[in-house]
Structures are given as structure tokens and as C-alpha cells.
């Protein structure tokens, strides 16, 4: 009977989308709303402007890096070296702070971090080596360079009270913590770059179909190179936040960040195959992970419970995403 009725409404079927497709398209927003609703109902303190700022602040370091890495992933590559690079940049800026002053330390840190990023970009963009292995090698090499630089010792800033370096990690503008501000502003700017400029569209093209992009005259080498410069740049920004907040650094402070960053990017629905993704969704992905962390802590669970929840959330999110594209829930192997 229903089939009969449906047959009188031509065109309707095309517009209807199945629940699966709906989740595939809007899953990340649904998840964000779900997160907020559940934690707001379960705890008293979750739903407040203050706590929201705390969440953004906690997400700011991983989020800032994730924004740059999103460009790399959309371009069809991976960057596993950002964790080591974060350690390197943080150690460098903190160590140079006392030696040459913050005014010189910050530009120097950016120069050296971008230099390492350009090595990644050269090896992967120009020599066309596999990005996973190159950045894996760089992960260990950069860690080594950091340790050689410090001789294995931790570094810290001696006069922590009277330096304007504290601005990036500890101060507020109009009640908004600067780390959160850096994170959000970078996110907005780079989202515009990604969507509204030729550069952004070319990166989608290179990640989506390299051969087609090549034949349409895109300079693949240069584009891939620039995505790695971008991820090094956002990593340097994150190092600024981290160094300023802690006013010191261990040699392995960024260890494991590369995978947490990737978790945020993947949760945001950016395909590891390249060619699709968005900064806004990456930011939401990172925020969801931070909310899970924050909410579970408010509920009184130990911090490591979040890892278990993260596991489930990542797999379910990517599963729904893939299932929506495939049109059915299970694979056909």
C-alpha cells in the first residue's frame, strides 16, 4: 500500500535521505550536540561560558596543529612528525627566550620549525616519497635533534613573572584566553583560505585525483610542499602557546600528539585518502574530544577513561561516514 502511495509522488524518493545518509552528512554536528546535551544533563558545571572556554583552551594546542595537518591530509598525505616538531619548537623557543630575549626567540623558532617542515615538504612533494614513512623517520630524527640540542636536559624560563612571553599562553583579551583566540582565529582564516582561494581548491584537486590535477596544469610538488609548510607553521603557533603556558619544556613534551591530532582530523570526517575535508569539521572533531575529556573529568571519572570513549567515538564516527557513502552498514568482503 505504501509503495503504491509512493509511486504517486514522483521525485520525492530522490529528496528523501535515509537515516544512514543523514548521519554521514551531519554526524559530526549530531555528535557535538549529543555531547553537549549529555554532559549538560549529567553535570551541573558543564554548561557555562567559563567551562566552554576551558574546553576550547584545552583543545587549543592539539586543535591548532590539527588545522595545519588537515591541509596535509586533504592533499592526500599524512604528517606524523608534528608531535616531535612540537617538542622541538617548544624547547627551542623556551631555551632561546633566556638567551636572546623573546623578541628574537619567537622569529627564530618559526624559522627553524618552518625549515624542518620544508624538509618534509621537499622529501614528500619533490622526491615523491611515501609521506607516512618520511614523517615517521622525521618523527625520530627531530626527537633526536631536540635531545642533541638540549643534551637531554629540561629547559625553562628563569624569570617567569616579568616577561611578555606569558601573553600567548596565560593572558586574556576581553575575557577570552589568548590560546583559544589563536586557535579560533587561525581556524577561521585557514577555513577561508581552504574554501575561498585558488590555493585551497588546488589542494582539494591534488588530494582528490593527483593525475587529473597534474594534467590540468597544477604544480603538485609546490602544493604538497606548501601543505607541509602550513602544518609546520601551525605547529610553531601551538609551540608558542605551550611554551608560554608552561614556561618550560621537557624534551618529549609533544610525544604522542601526532596521533591525537590525527584522531581529531579523522573524527572531523577528513578522509585519509585525501580530496575531502574541512577545517570547521576538524575544529569540531577536536572540540568533541576535548569535551569528552572535560565532561568525564567533571563526572568524576579518572582522566584515562576518556581514551576508552575516544576509541568508540572514532570508530563509530568513521564507520557511519563510510557506511553512508557505501549505502549499507556492513562491508562486502
Amino acid at each position: 500500500m505504501k509503495a503504491l502511495l509512493d509511486s504517486f509522488k514522483p521525485g520525492l524518493k530522490d529528496k528523501e535521505i535515509s537515516p544512514l545518509q543523514f548521519f554521514g552528512k551531519h554526524g559530526i554536528s549530531v555528535a557535538l550536540v549529543l555531547c553537549v546535551v549529555i554532559f549538560s544533563l549529567a553535570t551541573e558545571n558543564f554548561l557555562s561560558a567559563d567551562n566552554f572556554l576551558t574546553v576550547v583552551m584545552q583543545a587549543s594546542i592539539i586543535g591548532t596543529i590539527a588545522i595545519g595537518v588537515t591541509f596535509v591530509v586533504i592533499g592526500g598525505n599524512l604528517d606524523l612528525s608534528v608531535g616531535s616538531l612540537l617538542s622541538f619548537a617548544t624547547v627551542l623557543v623556551v631555551d632561546l627566550h633566556d638567551k636572546v630575549g623573546p623578541g628574537m626567540a619567537i622569529p627564530l623558532m618559526f624559522v627553524f620549525t618552518l625549515l624542518i617542515g620544508s624538509i618534509n615538504g621537499f622529501l614528500i612533494g619533490y622526491l615523491r616519497l611515501n609521506s607516512l614513512i618520511v614523517t615517521l623517520g622525521m618523527l625520530s630524527a627531530i626527537q633526536g635533534i631536540t635531545l642533541v640540542y638540549t643534551g637531554g636536559k629540561n629547559v625553562d624560563i628563569s624569570d617567569q613573572e616579568n616577561t611578555w612571553f606569558a601573553f600567548f599562553g596565560r593572558e586574556e583579551i576581553f575575557g577570552i584566553p589568548v590560546p583559544a583566540l589563536i586557535f579560533i582565529v587561525l581556524g577561521i582564516i585557514l577555513q577561508i583560505v581552504l574554501l575561498k582561494t585558488g590555493f585551497g581548491r588546488k589542494i582539494f584537486a591534488v588530494g582528490g585525483n593527483e593525475t587529473a590535477a597534474l594534467f590540468s596544469g597544477l604544480r603538485r610538488k609546490r602544493l604538497v610542499f606548501s601543505t607541509y609548510l602550513l602544518s609546520a607553521f601551525t605547529t610553531a603557533c601551538a609551540a608558542l602557546i605551550l611554551g608560554s603556558r608552561v614556561m618550560g619544556s621537557q624534551n618529549n613534551v609533544g610525544e604522542g600528539y601526532e596521533l591525537l591530532v590525527l584522531a581529531g582530523v579523522i573524527l572531523g570526517g577528513t578522509s585519509l585518502l585525501g580530496g575531502s575535508g574541512s577545517i570547521v569539521r576538524t575544529v569540531i572533531g577536536v572540540l568533541i574530544l576535548a569535551m569528552i575529556q572535560n565532561g568525564l573529568l567533571l563526572l568524576g571519572y579518572p582522566y584515562y577513561t576518556q581514551w576508552l570513549v575516544t576509541w568508540v567515538v572514532i570508530i563509530v564516527a568513521v564507520w557511519l561516514d563510510i557506511a553512508a557513502k557505501r549505502g549499507k552498514l556492513l562491508s562486502s568482503y
Binding site: L139, I142, G144, L147, I266, L308, T310, W311, Y333
Partner: protein
């Protein structure tokens, strides 16, 4: 002449191992020594046992990032449950946990079709959470000394840990080379769709390999805890990266379809010899990180140039 060229291009890592052995033998009086060699084998066995499983998974065209966390889980269970279950029972539960984690990864990858990289990335984070929940952030110590005695014991004056490692290398080499399962590993990795059309049950096949690597990671964790007589919740951090490094050094391709256990063995030895030799020369261990990272990229570069010459880059 051609065969030498073949070896250099196909197994460049063994050349590197040879150079390392010669170099360290001349520069350190303590290096070329049987007891030092067995030392190297023991040091290599931790990563090596996992690398065997990783070779299967990577030739399959998959990857497993959760091995480091599995090492910690198995070690914590095998040491922590000893008061309740005794050594045998605790070790059994530890190994079982690896099988279960591997099985879970495999079933998720099979049924959902989510890429193994993402499945195991999730598991890597989640299993570490399980370890912390179980241990409550505590380290465990084996009170029964028989446990740590096993880690230090020898058979025919060869340490048991080294024997287990060598035995597993030989066994897995034979399995990969001479069994149906072994041939399927290459077939599935080379072309998944063609393998499916040819009647290989791709999903269950990959599941078996994930169970294998889960078991081997757990075994590595148990063996490591017998060496220390203890377990810590942070055990095995970064092991996934070291293992992948070793396997890639050994010439296995990330894209799947190509690789060998012998190559992996070379990769594992290269890392262990480099660490051991640099240690004997009293070079700070950080330089090892830089050298290993560079070698990884150089091996990749050689491999890429060679495959482009030979097959115009068809093998990716």
C-alpha cells in the same frame, strides 16, 4: 656482479647490518663477542617478535598501531594476575588479551570496512585506557622470582628469549613462504579485489593476521615483563613506531603485496646493532634517533628509485 646488485637493491638493509658489524667490531673491543651478540638478540627480540606480525599485516596492505598498548596490557595482566591465578594462568590471560584485541581490530576492519590505520589508531588510544583502568596507574612486580628467572634463563648456553625469537622468525618465514595462508597474504595485499574474485575470503584472512599480531604483541609484552620482573602502565609506548620502522627498513612496502620475514629480521637487527654499538662507543642515545630516521628515509629513497627503474613505479 648482477647478483650482488640484486642483493643491494632487494635487501639493502642486510648490507647495512654487515657494515655496522664491521664498523663496530673495529671501533669497540667489546662488540665482536658471542655474549654481546646474544645480548643484541635479546634486545632485538622485544620489537622483533611484534615485527613478525607487523610484516604479515603490512604485506596485507594494513597496519597495526595498537601493538604498543597491547604490549602494556598483556604485561600488566601477566604480572598483575599472578597472585590470583599463578604464573601459568596469568600468562595465559595476558596472551589471551592480545588475541582478543587483535580479533576485535580484525572484526571491526572486516565488518565495517574502516581502514586499518583508523581502526588501530582508535584501539591504540583505547587499549591504553584499558591498561590504565586495570592497573589504576600502578606498576606491578612479580613476587615469584621464578617469573624473572625465566627471562634470564638459558638453554644450551643460549638465552631462552633469543631462542624464542629465532624460532618464531624461522617458523613465520616458512609460513609466509610455503603455506596457502602465506601466499594469500601477498595476494590480498597485492590486489584486494582480485584476491576476492579469486575466491580468497579477504575479511577472515585479514582477521587471522590481526589475531596473529595481537598474540605476538602480547607475547612480546609477557617476555619483556619477564626480563624486568615487573610491568608499568606506560610500557610499550612508541613500540608501534619502532616496529613499523624495522619492517619498512626490511623492505616491506606500506602499500602491500611485497615484503619478507628475512628483510624484517634484518631491519630489527639493524636497529638493535646500532643501539648496542653506539652504546658501547658511549655515543649519547639521541644520535641513534637521528641516524635511524635518516636511514629510514634513505632506504625508502633507494627502494623508490629502484622500483621506478624496474617497473616504472607500478609497485608504488
Amino acid at each position: 656482479m648482477k647478483s650482488i646488485f640484486d642483493i643491494i637493491t632487494k635487501q639493502p638493509i642486510w648490507i647495512f647490518v654487515l657494515i655496522c658489524i664491521i664498523f663496530f667490531s673495529f671501533s669497540s673491543p667489546f662488540f665482536f663477542d658471542l655474549s654481546n651478540f646474544t645480548n643484541i638478540l635479546i634486545q632485538a627480540s622485544t620489537i622483533g617478535v611484534i615485527a613478525i606480525g607487523m610484516t604479515f599485516v603490512m604485506i596485507n596492505g594494513n597496519i597495526d598501531l595498537s601493538v604498543g598498548a597491547t604490549v602494556a596490557l598483556a604485561a600488566s595482566l601477566a604480572v598483575g594476575l599472578q597472585p590470583q591465578l599463578g604464573i601459568t594462568g596469568a600468562v595465559f590471560v595476558g596472551l589471551l588479551s592480545g588475541v582478543l584485541i587483535g580479533g576485535l581490530n580484525g572484526i571491526i576492519a572486516w565488518k565495517t570496512g574502516v581502514d586499518a590505520f583508523i581502526v588501530t589508531l582508535g584501539a591504540m588510544i583505547g587499549v591504553r585506557g584499558l591498561v590504565f583502568i586495570y592497573t589504576g596507574e600502578q606498576s606491578f612486580y612479580a613476587h615469584d622470582l621464578a617469573y624473572s628467572d625465566f627471562g634470564a634463563s638459558s638453554l644450551f648456553s643460549v638465552p631462552v628469549l633469543a631462542l624464542i625469537f629465532i624460532f618464531l622468525i624461522i617458523l613465520s618465514h616458512l609460513v609466509l613462504k610455503y603455506t596457502i595462508h602465506g601466499r594469500n597474504v601477498f595476494a590480498v595485499g597485492g590486489n584486494r579485489i582480485a584476491a576476492k574474485e579469486a575466491g580468497i575470503r579477504v575479511g577472515p584472512h585479514m582477521l587471522v593476521n590481526f589475531i596473529l599480531i595481537g598474540f605476538l604483541a602480547a607475547l612480546s609484552g609477557v617476555l619483556l615483563s619477564t626480563q624486568m620482573g615487573a610491568s608499568t602502565p606506560n610500557l610499550g609506548r612508541n613500540y608501534e613506531l619502532w616496529t613499523i620502522t624495522a619492517v619498512v627498513l626490511g623492505g616491506t612496502r606500506l602499500t602491500g603485496g611485497y615484503g619478507s620475514i628475512i628483510g624484517t629480521f634484518g631491519g630489527v637487527l639493524a636497529i638493535a646493532i646500532l643501539r648496542n654499538g653506539m652504546n658501547l662507543l658511549q655515543v649519547p642515545s639521541f644520535f641513534v634517533l637521528i641516524i635511524l630516521g635518516s636511514i629510514l628515509i634513505i632506504v625508502l629513497f633507494i627502494d623508490k628509485r629502484f622500483s621506478e627503474q624496474q617497473g616504472h613505479g607500478v609497485r608504488a
